[in-house]
């Protein structure tokens, strides 16, 4: 005969087991490898010098649907202030991916729905053979921004299918390519068109980003050793965007950053940082003077980028890229996903106040 007490104990034990014993969704920040329900490409460019190919894959055994939004971070003049600011203009489309289907498109040309297109396409126009995921508009020349895709069901309601992964390949006019993984955010229990990155609906944004790099302006150690064309130099760039976005009202999200840079001598050589509104691609030394070789004094530097201030909860995401150039101007570039530090493990990190980041989708 079970007593009341034993029943209560059993219930508590069960609760504990459910809390800690289930495999469930790994709740630990954004990821650049795990599939997610939100997929973000921070750097999507179509300029006279660069173009981008987006690859998105459905890793699920069911057909998946996603709403995608191009966010244009190109600078325009604010009519109210006369100052340049990112336009933050969005254009959206939907894609459907059958089970395990990969897809791709080149952002400068988009992708048509054309079941008759085959592999032998016209020169200069990349092949779009395959199940077309949907009509994907091209972006205009001069587009520099991001792409955000959110997994939804057939009625465009956000779901936590965690089915999307992706890569972006950026090619420049010289033929040089760089590639990075799309940033995924895993869904938990979405509740509406406002995607709250609060560890309840979706995983939260990272508490900080960090990167290790060859210091901007430093000679590249490999080019110096192997090439006759010296001296060489390295330039670094970083593309940043707030975690949250208001894609319905087109209100740019802003986040202030604290950037700490450390050199090889364990010296913290700068502490400061810009604010990022909507989207920004900047020379790395522009967000932290310590990333400049003349300041750092060492070939390698390590930096942390931490949101701060009243809007710190907006979070920050980004990718970095570096260019090594020899004395004749031959250059090679590489893109790199940034490392993240936990949103739930905030040891030694500033306490984040305010509401968590939200990606507000436009009403379909």
């Amino acid at each position: 005969m079970r007593t009341t007490k034993s029943l209560i104990v059993g219930a508590a034990v069960t609760a504990f087991a459910l809390a800690f014993g289930t495999t469930g969704v790994a709740r630990a920040d954004v990821s650049t490898e795990r599939p997610g329900s939100i997929l973000i490409f921070p750097k999507v460019v179509n300029t006279t010098d660069e173009d981008t190919i987006i690859q998105i894959t459905n890793v699920n055994n069911d057909t998946r649907h996603a709403r995608c939004f191009f966010v244009d971070g190109a600078l325009t003049f604010d009519p109210n202030t006369g100052l340049p600011r990112p336009s933050c203009q969005e254009s959206d489309f939907s894609i459907w991916l059958t089970r395990l289907q990969p897809t791709h498109w080149q952002v400068s040309v988009g992708r048509r729905i054309d079941p008759t297109d085959n592999f032998s396409s016209a020169p200069g126009y990349p092949s779009t053979a395959g199940f077309d995921p949907g009509g994907i508009p091209p972006v205009g020349v001069g587009f520099t921004g991001a792409l955000i895709c959110a997994e939804v069901d057939a009625s465009d309601k956000p779901i936590a299918g965690n089915s999307l992964t992706g890569q972006a390949t950026v090619k420049n006019i010289n033929g040089d390519v760089s590639k990075y993984n799309g940033i995924t955010i895993q869904g938990i229990t979405p509740m509406g068109q406002d995607l709250s990155l609060d560890n309840v609906e979706y995983n939260g944004c990272p508490a900080s980003l960090n990167l290790t790099t060859i210091t901007s302006g430093a000679p590249d150690p490999v080019v110096e050793a192997l090439s006759p064309n010296t001296p060489s130099t390295v330039r670094n760039f970083i593309t940043l965007m707030p975690c949250g976005a208001d894609l319905e009202n087109l209100v740019p999200q802003t986040v202030s950053l604290q950037v700490a840079v450390f050199n090889e001598f364990e010296q913290r050589i700068s502490l400061g940082g810009p604010s990022v509104e909507c989207w920004a691609r900047l020379p790395l030394e522009a967000i932290g003077g310590g990333f400049d070789f003349a300041t750092a004094g060492t070939t390698f530097t390590y930096g942390t980028i931490t949101p701060q201030g009243p809007n710190a909860a907006n979070g920050i995401l980004g990718v970095a890229d570096s260019v090594a150039t020899d004395s004749l101007g031959n250059s090679g570039s590489a893109a790199d996903n940034l490392h993240v530090a936990g949103n739930t493990d905030t040891t030694n990190l500033p306490v984040v106040t305010g509401s968590p980041a939200v990606i507000r989708l436009s009403v379909p």
Binding site: T32, R34, S227
Partner: protein
């Protein structure tokens, strides 16, 4: 009838249950395998050095490794292992017999002399202690390596470094694995996740500079950093209770490896930008289980476990193909060589060929089998090489984790 004591117990237990649910809802961070996280084990799947271009058609190749201690206050230490996967004709380890099994050149692949190009896996190690927030970077092909900047007696005004980095052979192809340890006098793995890593692989000629970059794969430690150190020589990535002689039945110390690697790639020979520059993708696979103290014996009791990697390829028409390949200690080859003979001769017949698949991109899912047996986890890296001489690297995606009991083990000396 409930007594007061019963009410009190009821209330306490209910609170405990609510706390449990609340903790679950707020998302306790779990240890993971990922290339964007600070971790206790770093895996650099591909390190390439060939400063005279002996195996690369005369094009010098080198790698820059960058490691950072993300702890803002303490010195943290690493025990690192170079896993040398150089191949030699008939496995005869001699610089004169160095070869490339994936080369078309009959001299470089040993066929001209009637021999086979076989890998000979050897391991050397080194230790480094990094100060708080310190980046450590070095060119792998440099010999001798520069001293760490904050060694005792340095003139840079800093302190806290210890250890030194040993050079590798030239040419060198292989991986670098680093394990966070207590310190250099007590080299025992610890329950901490303090290190990040990045590698840049260069190809440099008088007329070009090509660089590709990837993040080291981090395998996070699970346990409480305030707890005692992990086992001194056996690192448990998950548990291995499904095996015949488990060594990790007491529990996992590190995150389990992914159950499936997802490689999103262009098919071989595709011209993604429509400008005539075609692309080939090289996939590098390294096993999660590694007996670093003895990598010379393959498929033996003390040797390295051989893993069969099942490959499932899906194109943009949702059409599926499959293949398999064996991974011993290290495997790096072009996709089109996974199912055909090494070399470019029959690439057009490969299921990875764009002409066979009919679409530009595909998804290849790589799974170490048996999936329910331990010691068959895999980690990977993908690199694209374009016909115009440029390249790019990216970390592969993951799907799922290896189930309980099918974990992996790293044995260190």
């Amino acid at each position: 009838m409930r007594t007061r004591k019963g009410y009190r117990s009821l209330g306490t237990l209910a609170l405990l249950g609510a706390a449990a649910v609340l903790l679950a809802a707020t998302g306790v961070a779990r240890a993971q395998v990922g290339s964007d996280l600070a971790a206790g084990i770093l895996v650099f799947p591909k390190i390439a050095v060939d400063t005279v271009g002996r195996l690369t058609g005369g094009i010098p190749v080198d790698t820059v490794v960058e490691i950072a201690n993300t702890d803002p206050t303490e010195i943290r230490s690493l025990h690192c292992f170079w896993v040398n996967a150089n191949s030699y004709c008939n496995g005869d380890v001699d610089i004169a017999n160095l070869c490339d099994p994936n080369s078309d050149n009959p001299v470089l692949n040993c066929r001209e002399t009637g021999r086979r190009c076989l890998p000979a896996w050897r391991v050397t190690d080194f230790f480094v202690a990094a100060t708080a927030n310190q980046p450590i970077g070095f060119r792998v092909g440099q010999v001798p390596q520069s001293a760490l900047p904050c060694l005792p007696g340095n003139t840079n005004g800093c302190a806290g470094n210890d250890g030194s980095i040993n050079p590798v052979e030239d040419p060198f192809i292989g991986e670098l694995k680093c394990v966070e340890v207590n310190d250099l006098t007590n080299v025992v793995p610890v329950n901490r996740n303090d290190f990040t890593g990045t590698a840049r692989i260069y190809r440099v000629t008088p007329g070009s500079v090509d660089v590709r970059q990837y993040n080291a794969i981090g395998i996070q430690s699970i346990a409480d950093p305030n707890a005692g150190p992990n086992d001194a020589t056996t690192l448990c990535l998950g548990t291995d209770t499904n095996g015949a002689s488990p060594v990790c039945s007491a529990g996992a110390e590190y995150a389990s490896c992914p159950s499936t690697l997802v490689v999103n790639h262009f098919f071989e020979g595709a011209a993604p930008f429509g400008d005539g520059a075609t692309v080939n993708t090289t996939l590098t696979l390294v096993p999660c289980t590694e007996r670093i103290e003895d990598t010379t014996g393959v498929n033996s009791v003390t040797g390295q476990q051989v893993t069969n990697a099942q490959l499932a390829i899906v194109n943009e028409f949702e059409q599926r193909f499959s293949s398999a390949t064996r991974v011993d200690c290290y495997k790096s080859m072009r996709l089109s060589d996974l199912d055909t003979r090494p070399g470019t001769t029959d690439d057009g017949s490969s299921i990875f060929s764009v002409g066979v698949e009919g679409s530009l991109t595909g998804q290849t899912r790589v799974r170490g089998v048996p999936g329910q047996s331990p010691y068959h986890g895999l980690l990977g890296l993908a690199e694209e090489s374009y016909s115009n001489g440029f390249s790019a690297a990216f970390n592969v995606n993951y799907d799922g984790v290896r189930p309980a009991g099918a974990g992996d083990v790293i044995t260190v000396p």
